[in-house]
């Protein structure tokens, strides 16, 4: 399993627009990815509803997890997306 801890840069947090871009990127990768907050709440990163409901704010640290052959490279790309808002 691959993991990345990242700090979310989007000024409005992971709300409609940034969440949609993030979920679209996850869906393109085609691997199951989870997004977990520091308090342990976790979401399926392929669902906009799940990601938005997680209520991640700008500056929050989140944990990305993925399984699969290309998980390391996939999480590098997703981490890049989240840390550049």
């Amino acid at each position: 399993m691959a993991e990345r801890r990242v700090v979310v840069a989007s000024a409005v947090g992971l709300h409609a627009r940034p969440a949609a871009l993030f979920v679209t990127a996850v869906t393109k990768i085609g691997l199951p990815v989870t997004l977990t907050r520091r308090d342990g709440r976790t979401a399926d990163a392929r669902s906009i509803l799940a990601v938005v409901t997680l209520d991640v704010k700008c500056g929050d640290e989140v944990l990305l997890c993925a399984h699969g052959d290309d998980a390391e490279a996939a999480l590098d790309r997703l981490a890049e997306l989240l840390t550049h808002g």
Binding site: R17, S47, L49, V52
Partner: protein, 154 residues
């Protein structure tokens, strides 16, 4: 599942999502649906479906029932207004019925701030073909907007 009828949260002119001046909505990355160009007057914004008011912000809200979740975004980039165009009626997490008032909202104030007041109403986590029977032309708040045929996920 039985189809869910999504009703108009506000009064205005229906326009396709492709005309929303925000590529993320226009390319349907948030989900399929419609947008409403609001009639320029202070409006009472209504819930589009029965469900729980999962998220409530002055510029947007989500009502969800199981995996059927509808996002209403009141104008584009309106998070910048910090609530200046809105006055909340409902509270987050509340159970609401379709047609129940969520907030008062004034598109005139949005446009006066130089922002687009167009309102996307979209089905979250839905494939493009899940939305059918799209309404056309003028729509009155509470009237049928589109039908969500399937709850497909994952």
């Amino acid at each position: 599942m039985s189809p869910v009828v999504v009703t108009a949260p506000l009064t205005g002119l229906i326009v396709p999502l492709s005309e929303v001046p925000d590529p993320v909505f226009a390319q349907r990355l948030v989900g399929p649906g419609l947008a409403i160009s609001p009639t320029p007057q202070r409006q009472t914004i209504l819930s589009p479906i029965d469900g729980r008011l999962l998220k409530l912000k002055p510029h947007a809200f989500i009502v969800a029932e199981g995996r059927t979740a509808v996002l209403v975004h009141l104008g584009i980039d309106t998070v910048l207004l910090d609530g200046a165009a809105s006055s909340l009626i409902a509270v987050e997490k509340q159970i609401v019925r379709a047609g129940e008032p969520i907030m008062f909202w004034d598109p005139i104030l949005v446009e006066a701030a130089g922002l687009s007041a167009i309102c996307p109403v979209v089905a979250l986590d839905a494939p493009a073909d899940a939305v059918a029977d799209l309404a056309h032309g003028e729509v009155v708040a509470g009237a049928e907007l589109f039908t969500w045929r399937e709850r497909i996920y994952g």
